[in-house]
Amino acid sequence: MEWTALDGWIVATGTLLAMACALPGTFLILNRQSMLGDGISHAVLPGIAIAFLLTGSRDWTFMLAGAVVAGVLTGVISNAIEKYGKVESGAALGVTFCSLFALGLVLIRIAADQVEIHADCVLYGTLETAVIDGVINSGVPQVAWQAIALLLANALLVLLFYKELKIASFDPDLAESQGIPAGRIKFGITMMTAITTVMAFEAVGSILIIALLIVPASTAILLSHRLPVILVLACGIGMLTAFVGHWLAMAPFPWLMRELSGLESLSSASSTGMMAAACGLIFILVLITQRVLQRQMPSGQPSTSS
């Protein structure tokens, strides 16, 4: 399989998105809210469907607005259920996003009568087709611009509120005593996650979003204790996964499948799916390497496992 300009664009877009996701993802993990990304990415479905049904158009801005509202509502509703219903936080999130997702599936089915839309494109994303369409039409695909804008916005937010984010993530009580509203910062992280999820999911689908949010940042957290290093590492690992994922999807994975099955018709696998798998592969490699190194020099650094 040959490497073309299209593959370059796919990897470039994936790289930008991975970096944009790694920033809020790091703070999600530090706040122990990793599954919130999962919840939000499921729950944006009804927001999109309602935006369709209300406006009747496939306008990108309405879709974004509907999805952001739904994403933020996921956080708000699950918090409300947890607080006023006295339900354990994980279960509260589960109840919320399952209900919203089910509602979204029903609404999408209804909306499908009016607009061409399918739940699949929300789930898997269509990075390849989006890039191809964009390159054919205007040279630079729209998803790439979107990814750049998202990355810049997230980087700006993190730089501006770095101190607040840091204190609120590591020690909410200290933050409150310093006059930093930890609750509002947490809500801000939810907002940032919701917007990032929505902006990125058109390209990579809701499931890869969770991988890009959580896995590179987790790998970085394995490697360092310092927040700036973690953020930079997370972005770097995100870039790597986009490249490795696409490469795996193009060459080795279909080759493996062809060899195993003997079917010549198998050409390539989903890039987004393989990017998620690549995230996991890198995470596992780092984890195992670290364990092996730790075992070899037990007297060195204090063990990080707990």
């Binding site: 993990i29 122990r32 990793s34 599954m35 999962d38 009804p46 309602i50 509703i77 409300a80 259920i81 006023y84 219903g85 354990e88 994980g90 279960a91 589960g94 109840v95 399952c98 209900s99 997702f101 089910a102 509602l103 599936l105 029903v106 609404l107 209804i110 009568d113 739940a119 789930l123 689908g205 499931i207 890869l208 969770i210 991988a211 949010l213 959580i214 896995v215 987790s218 394995l222 994975f253 499948m257 195993l260 099955s261 018709s265 198998l266 390539s268 696998a269 989903s270 987004t272 799916g273 393989m274 998620a276 798998a277 995230c279 996991g280 984890l287 670290q290 364990r291 990080t304 496992s305």
Partner: protein, 488 residues
Amino acid sequence: MNDITILRTTPRSLIFVLFGFWILNFGLANAAELHQLPSATDIWRVLSLQDHNTRIVFIGTALFGAVGGMVGTFLLLRKRSLMSDTISHATLPGIGIAFIIGELFFGFGKSLPLLMFGAAVTGLAGMGMVVAIRTCSKIKDDAALAIVLSVFFGLGIALITVVQQMPSGNAAGLEGFIYGKAASMTVSDGWLIFGAALAAGLVCFFLYKEFTVLCFDSSFAASQGWPVLLLDVALLALITIVTVIGLQAVGLLLVVAMMIIPPAAARFWTERLDMTLLISMGFGFVSGLLGVFASALFPRLPAGAIIVLVSALLFFLSMVLGGARGMWFRYYEHRELSRRVRRQHLLRSIYEWLEVHGKRTDLLDDEFTLNDIRQFRAWTPGELETSLQRALQRDFLGEDHPGRYHLTGKGARDALRVVRNHRLWELFLIKYADIAPGKVDRDADAVEHILEPDILQELEALLEDEDTRKRIPLSPHRLNGALNGGTT
């Protein structure tokens, strides 16, 4: 403090709940509009289970709902609800691999037992990965769940895209597992679900005591020599089995809902485990039935989603109306308690005013005005007036002349009791806790409403020698606004 915040914020949370209802209504109304309403004969045909196929789908889905509610209850109590989400996503690569293997070695991949077996294998592998990441690194629980979920699902999607390119890879069959395809259930599928459900039920029955200990106090269980890790694995294996049998009914994206929502809803109705289990199973059963019923009438709507929406409706109803932990119930309890507290404060203030300024002949004859009482406590605006009106309505106070009030017999009894509690506690604090007389008032303020009779007896015994023999001990400190009065 917590009680008060709940009191203050409940209306806002009600808005959220109402919003949830609105969304549900929106969906259902649209559904009714766009899909012609079924005729009465249609409804009768579905309800009377005339179609052989409908009967299987009904029984299979309802059975799955009940079993999901059962194992979900243990999972909820173990605080691992989202584990089921990760397991269900982790089944996808197994389905893909099983299909490919089936195609290569047996010539056909769409055999349900084979696909279910593959799903169970990777589901369990995903669960193992979560445990491994959690124990081998500093990555926390929630991140481990998210990592395994997204990576396994991504791998699954990649496999599915490969399967779609196979000549026989009619991927529509596999997509049924993602979104659910209850209507395509066959008799053998029904038997498979029945068998798996029976097995899960039996395991829960025989391990009931073990799971109970595990869920309520796992460290106690460990200290008593229970094999906690093994039990956890058994529970998660059960979750995997239930996930796998639910794949066809509601799909892997929503199968988790049936293990989270019914148990969470059941918890609002009871505090007992056995009842929670039964109610949760009932909710799951009913959701399955109603969901299949609705989707039989509106064939174009996705059955899995309808099932989940029915259970979501049950959840919201339970959350508001639930008899043990529901919001309305707790709101009502808190309101009653805070009203009683305010009434008792009012009565004690009245008694203390009468003690200082009254003619001391008979409690019932002395009259007082609103302003007399106002200076005895820091009332918030309007609080005194509402408490007074409420006390008048409930016959604790009487009003012979407009604006001049007096205690009734009932009010006087209550006032005496509260004042006695208050002062006994004050004396106790001064004598045994070494707190300055000027500071005991506030402490006693909080405790006087909840002193139980046996504690009172103990207090009386402790303070035997003091002036407690009198019906009401004198206040150990100067009373507010009593600067001219002659207290101790």
